[in-house]
Subunit: 325 residues, 2 copies
């Protein structure tokens, strides 16, 4: 098993990407790694590179501000495109990037292609709940204007992913809405409700945003605009509250800070399933990391990529699609 | 100045509504109150009713599950409808309700009517930021499918309200979006961006959901579906984090709990401007309170209703509309 890492992408690239790769090998080290980036820089940062780690040299990288498609056409050897190609060629079993999400989406679509039958791949994130398990939310930004059948696709993909990664058979699927009753919502959600109700999925109905965090459903679907707003709202509120809590704890001594860090860890999640956002619907494992990801998150993302590849969720999506049609 | 209170609506009605009215009179007491509800019940709960408080008897109330319009037709003397009528007749200067939001919207629209030139009244809420001032978000649920000109209306109404209530001249108006650049977003936000850019408002561009809490804008507009999701997400994350924080603080003693309660008060806001959601665009002051509101929130909502009436924001909206057309 080999995971490709886009060492050049991200706010703290290449340092934190390489530190994350080191961390992964030190703690788990099950899979071999392909570091995609500038060989000279990588060797400087990691002089005693172990044998389980190879380098694929490229010094082209797509910057955050660039137009994804134009940049990909111009930079044939962009690190993110190389990663996708390695997966396509079977030389890697999955890849992670913390660079431009748009570029990763475009590279994944162009190189890996879509799973047959999927119109709209979606970015999915796991969010913490007050319960034991996280909730998978999709789409969180790949598709801003969608039709009801796309929400159906998201549900099908999310359900297959959750089943394979979290080991929950027939996960509970919810539709993000602004009320619980069937008749609630906008034109999109009303039509999607009908499709989901008549499917073979374990559809539990509408889920309001505040109930999402209670774990009422395992998978919740929405359009990418709404999902992105939800995701960023939870980040914003969580960060602001953490700042207030730590400021108070600080005045009470270091031990207190530690206690509170531990207590609210759930909302600044560091376990593998929260570390990266799988791009579901492309024909291969492509995990999107936050641009701000530091080494521990990268190490966990590599771990998640290994689970994803082993789980063969891509095959399950294909199978479920055939059943649904 | 007189404020009408729908004593019958809300999860904790009539007790907390009456307790809130008492609290208001004890602490501020500037305005007279009209308690709309069952006279017998009110007198039992408040035997020594002061002179500044009158009762308007009705025992009809619209329950949460009822269809707003059908219920209003059937129950001509529903407490929320009576409140709106008192405002319409000039006997009250504004009203608050913690009952069914749908019923309050319907009663406000039917009885008070819309401000001339406004197509879609919107529910607006003030949210806390890390800065000094809150941010006014609208719409948060009155309009689930909107057109770009409705977002323009929301901006105009929100701007006038913020100017009058917070005393900020030409408040900064932002468009909720999933990226900062002008070209970002869905069809709705792209078209609304054009309208806002070419207006005389102090438009500061797109605002992402996490930046909303940094106070980048004073007023942020979005459709009611997205706004409702944002509002409930912030409630859900905030409640879950508070639970974790208090649990930890509890194990450290009562004083610690107190310290943290004070610290994160900002995200469980108790000041008047956060207590109720003005229904902007109807021709009169109609404040929506959360169904779960307890006495201190009700007291603050009454205070806000007084400010709203004094501020004459309804007149400013009318004036700004004329300028914009």
């Amino acid at each position: 098993m080999k995971i490709a890492i886009d060492v050049m992408g991200g706010d703290f690239a290449p340092q934190e990407l390489i530190a994350g790769a080191k961390g992964y090998l030190q703690n788990d080290g099950e899979a071999g790694l392909i570091l995609v980036g500038d060989e000279k820089v990588i060797r400087e940062l990691w002089p005693d590179l172990p044998e389980s780690c190879e380098i694929y040299h490229t010094d082209e990288v797509i910057e955050m501000g660039e137009h994804p498609l134009q940049a990909l056409r111009k930079k044939k050897n962009a690190s993110v495109a190389v990663c996708a190609t390695l997966v396509k060629q079977g030389k890697a079993d999955g890849f992670i990037s913390a660079g431009s999400t748009g570029a990763q989406m475009a590279a994944s679509l162009l190189v890996l292609g879509k799973i047959t039958g999927i119109e709209r791949p979606a970015i999915s994130v796991m969010l913490p709940t007050s319960g034991e398990r996280g909730v998978l939310l999709l789409d969180v930004g790949a598709n801003v204007d969608v039709r009801p059948n796309h929400l159906f696709e998201f549900a099908l993909m999310g359900s297959a992913y959750y089943e394979k990664i979290c080991g929950v058979e027939k996960p509970k699927v919810g539709l993000l809405n602004i009320g619980e009753e069937e008749a609630k919502g906008n034109e999109l959600t009303k039509a999607a409700y009908e499709l989901l109700k008549n499917s073979s999925m374990n559809f539990v109905g509408n889920v309001e945003a505040d109930h999402l965090f209670e774990g009422k459903a395992n998978v919740v679907v929405c359009d990418g605009f709404v999902g992105n707003v939800l995701l960023k709202t939870s980040e914003g509120v969580s960060e602001n509250m953490q700042a207030l809590v730590f400021k108070t704890a600080m005045s009470m001594g270091e031990e207190t800070v530690g206690n509170f860090k531990k207590a609210i860890k759930k909302f600044s999640p560091s376990s593998p399933e929260y570390s990266a956002a799988p791009l579901l619907g492309v024909n291969g494992v492509s995990l999107v990391c936050h641009g701000k990801s530091k080494a521990p998150v990268i190490a966990n993302a590599i771990k998640l990529a290994v689970s994803c590849s082993k789980s063969k969720y891509v095959d399950l999506i294909t199978k479920e699609l055939t059943k649904a049609q």
